[in-house]
Symmetry: C3
Subunit: 476 residues, 3 copies
């Protein structure tokens, strides 16, 4: 049964070219360079830098984020033995389109003289928006066509931009490293789509749904680049100065602690005590996700380490025990386990943010009442956080709002809950389920050769062929 | 027929050591550290930064370019199944020598108290000069010995430095991202050399002239790093501030648009609509080449996207249809297809530069005549470009000059045209053709084992050997 | 004989979790964010930058060093055919723990109000301290369990921090790129441990102690990233401004010269003149090690090139001739040849530092006596070095001290010499030799599968199994 309806020759080029032409037209109408003159809504147009600032100050951080998006996400997914071309190749395609679409969708909320003025700050946010799509891509990896994925990109980026605007601007919740807005959103969106695209035939593990030795090493390129540059991800849009340093430091230590707990639990849950590459490749990164929301808060380096430590445990346990349950009981086939790397740690990040703000408030109130310094287990939280927050009340307010914004985002992809964003992710899945987008048949899932020219495998495949010939000869 | 005359034991070490010793002596005589005191010819010693500037401001951009040269070019060429050691290894060798030689050759035109004063700016330019050699290396990949390649490096860098000086300093053409000076030059130089080294026996594809699954993934490391850091390549030597931001932004969007069109056309030209890794690895980068010349001009983000969009189409079509014609009809065996990635997009960049300057001039003249603002399709070009260019006339002059400088550089490697630079590239090819440089015999082309100790291939080769033994036993 | 005592299920998780929890407690007590207020001992709190400096100025350099530690060291060791998971995976584990432990151990010497205040500068130094462990890891690669390696990490980091404090603070020796303090220390520490863990059964090369084609390409990822970012390693903690530029420039040229000599000698020592990947992967980096000590001194670009040139020769010869002797005669089985990449070039760096300071002093004295400028072979050293050094005498003093500090550090791991540090490294080896840390049996050395879940090798292993089945069937 060769790729009967999976021929992309017309569908894919027409969709890709049309989307790009539309995007170019939108850019012609709406997008201009940043001339540095507009009154800034961005975190970096702060008042204490009156002199003309180099517009490329954030450029090194932007490049770190860029590497995470294109090398990090791309190679992280190359662990599948026969799906490396798609992993890194479609990652490039989707991200390249998503950053253009994201810049428009995000920018329309912040027009400046009717224009979206592109700065490095906006380019970082455009890269961020691609992350949601790439996380969702991980959930449906191997089971979707390029056409389906481009459709998901358009819809998810659009919904993300609306959700981000609501969460960040209207509710004024703090989420500098985007634990909730990006990671939890992307994960639950992807899981909802994966649920819609459920394939009963894949219940028993597909022969290609696994790794080989070198594909696992390629995946480690992605893991390590994500791990190293995560401090840039969590601090890139933080206010420059002490806040940004705190975001870097917290993420650095959270990730370091996360490695130890992920390795320990990976060894603990396997009966021979061996380490599992799936855990190492993914759960070591959960600390970066979980510390995202409170990365720029004064939680103390040890606070960040506790968050990372817990995230590493939760994520590894998720891979071991939860993923099989999701697949068998809920019909959610989560190829890369994004629920464990982005979903649960994202929620953990939201909770950590609430605890951090709550503790800071409690500490401040105690300070006001007692007039003394809180000592002991939880450190002196108010000194810096006072300076940081413009007002005490603002913080208190966002403390409550954060809870709401969390639950607003969290169910974004869950098919159980029912709210606006959630409906959108299910609709996206339904649209992608339409039978004419060239989705692969079950037996061709997790296989590059259905959408890519794949070279022969040297000796191996030739060997197979010659064996086949040998058989024929033998029969003859 | 084992490697009879390809033994490098004396030829290569003597050449490499001699070249390095000569270079060290030249450095002792001519090269000194930059003490920050000299009156700047560099774009970054601008007058509005009177206070002492950190000499490492450009360092992050330098490192991005460095990664492009050593990881980007090196791994891009690892797509060949048996030539990965040479691709990344000889890339390192040639680039390490070329940057030293390039620094001297470029620096001799800009002596300061009789010394070449090394700054990060000069190191970026030295890295740039290596790019020309690495592009030409791509054209002759698999068919040349390390000795031949070192000879090409010396000669090409020398000619490049003269050409660059003529184009940039005397003709005053603008080429910030070096579409013409580096990319078109390197491509046509390499093609001329490839023509001189034509091997009729390789007309029918060599068995090693292809990829395997994992070699294509290694090549994607090169592709993605080149793709990500290209904005740094095109903006590193732009004037800091708005111009540099524009160069970054334009390259970012040009590359993003290029990905969509390259993928679309790759699928369109294959009868089953499958994507071809050769196109993805290369044509997705054409947008970076093509936007080079006008990267720091006010072409608008959508203008950059149009350039990238067209470059992706042209480059992919070139790989599909032009490369076979060049090989069969003109005797140019272009291993990596540098004509499609650097040659044609480089020329496209030159044309785009002319159009951009022409449009800006037309807009300015219209502005002077009508006294109003041009509205409509082409955007308000004069506001920023006026500030940027020191004078109106200078722009107008360089508009014409650019045409000339383009055609001065373009035929640099073409065997049809006939000018000074062109003669040099043919001479280089003739010198490399001399029979005592240890070039590989036809049957050993595209094979590391002729110049490298290559480890056994685990089961596979052992398997072959045991099969061979088996055969013998069977016969016995 | 399956992994009888190598089951890590309890030993490893308990150790890892305990260490992390202890570390978190230490962080809670001792570690705080840098608020930018303390009087700086760091090189970057210089007086001529009175205005509030961006605390992230060093961040791009930190990220370069970070990439060297996690990608560079990690992938450099993936050259072994069956030990890639451990190389890059245990590298991540050890470095993640070492940077936390290193920050505490180094910080305890520089308490500020009873706290270690984390800045980017401190994070760079924490990353540096991990390098010593990763170098020693290279010496014992393939022959140790994760538990043994964690123990080595604790002990080595602790001893390193004491030694660094003695060398850098008490003796006031200069070692900006840490040729001696990190590279020679890590190498000789690792060699002492390797000596203690000597395995007679591995005298005849183990079948897994070698590379395959693609594992060598993975290793080149490590090599090239180390090579590119070494200028950041050697300059990250140099005084900003001219010194830092000098450190970058010297390292850049030393590495470039080193490539040429390493390639030349690699070809020269092989009877067919072929290049050896072991040399290319390692000896090309020796120039970065050797120029470390005097990287920020005014040795002239050509001086740096001479150092790199010599280092490339020494290192390659070491791999070819010395490593076998160490293994057979001294019982030091140095898996990665760290003696050739870090040991000897580190000592060379110490000597180069002495020569550089001595020459500068000689030149200054000559200047004072003659009142004229020294001309000729050695360049005018005093102009910049006078500004750099706070006083002439200080330099003269450190000139002698450097000799002592060199020999203090050098024998750190040598079993011949006998001093305090040396005793510690032998003790570390003895502790690691205790029989209950789960070390691999001889026949399972250099094999991931003893500590990792390793996926089947596609056709190959399946082929082997089916062959085995075939055999059984054949017998049946």
């Amino acid at each position: 049964m060769p790729a009967y309806s999976t021929n992309m020759r017309l569908k894919f080029p027409i969709l890709a070219l049309t989307l790009e032409i539309i995007t170019i037209i939108l850019f012609a109408v709406f997008v201009d360079y940043d001339d540095g003159k507009h009154g800034g809504h961005g975190a970096h147009n702060t008042t204490h830098h009156e002199e003309k600032k180099d517009p490329l100050t954030l450029y090194p951080m932007f490049q770190d984020v860029h590497v995470m998006i294109f090398i990090g996400f791309g190679f992280l997914m190359t662990f599948l033995k026969r799906y490396g071309f798609s992993s890194v190749g479609l990652n490039l395609l989707l991200a390249a389109f998503a950053l253009q679409w994201g810049l428009i969708m995000q920018g329309l909320w912040h027009l400046d003289d009717g224009k979206i003025k592109v700065s490095i700050f906006k380019m970082i946010n455009a890269d961020f928006s691609t992350a949601t799509v790439l996380i969702s891509f991980g959930a449906v990896l191997g089971k979707t066509s390029p056409v389906q994925l481009l459709i998901m990109t358009i819809l998810e980026i659009t919904i993300f931009s609306i959700n981000e605007h609501l969460v960040a601007e209207i509710l004024e919740a703090n989420d500098v490293g985007a634990s909730m807005i990006i990671h939890a959103f992307g994960a639950y969106f992807g899981l909802a789509v994966a649920r819609m695209l459920y394939r009963p035939a894949l219940r028993n593990s597909h022969e290609n749904d696994g790794s080989v030795y070198h594909s696992d090493l390629f995946a480690m390129i992605g893991t390590v680049f994500l791990w190293m540059f995560w401090p840039s991800f969590n601090s890139a849009i933080a206010e420059s100065g002490t806040d940004q340093l705190m975001a870097v430091t917290n993420t650095y230590f959270s990730l370091a602690a996360c490695v130890l707990s992920a390795y320990a639990v990976s060894s603990l849950v396997e009966h021979k005590g061996k380490l599992d590459m799936v855990h190492i490749q993914n759960a070591t990164l959960a600390g970066g996700v979980a510390v995202g929301t409170c990365a720029d808060m004064d939680i103390g380096p040890f606070g960040a380490m506790i968050i990372g430590f817990v995230a590493g445990i939760v994520s590894t346990l998720g891979f071991k025990f939860l993923t099989p349950i999701l697949a068998s009981n809920l019909g959610i086939q989560d190829t890369c386990g994004v629920h464990n790397l982005h979903g649960m740690p994202g929620i953990l990040g939201g909770i950590a943010g609430i605890v951090a703000v709550g503790a800071a408030l409690a500490s401040s109130l105690g300070f006001a009442l007692v007039g003394g310094t809180i000592t002991g287990g939880w450190r002196d939280c108010h000194s810096l956080s006072f300076k940081k927050s413009t007002s005490h009340l603002n913080r208190q307010f966002s403390y409550f709002i954060k809870l709401c914004s969390l639950f607003y985002t969290m169910p974004a992809g869950k098919h159980i809950f029912n709210n606006t964003v959630n409906n959108f992710s299910i609709c996206t899945g339904l649209i992608m389920k339409l039978p004419f987008w060239g989705q692969p048949p079950d037996q061709n899932c997790f296989d590059d050769s259905i959408y890519w020219e794949v070279p022969g495998e040297e000796e191996e495949e030739e060997g197979e062929e010659s064996l086949a010939h040998g058989d024929q000869k033998a029969e003859a």
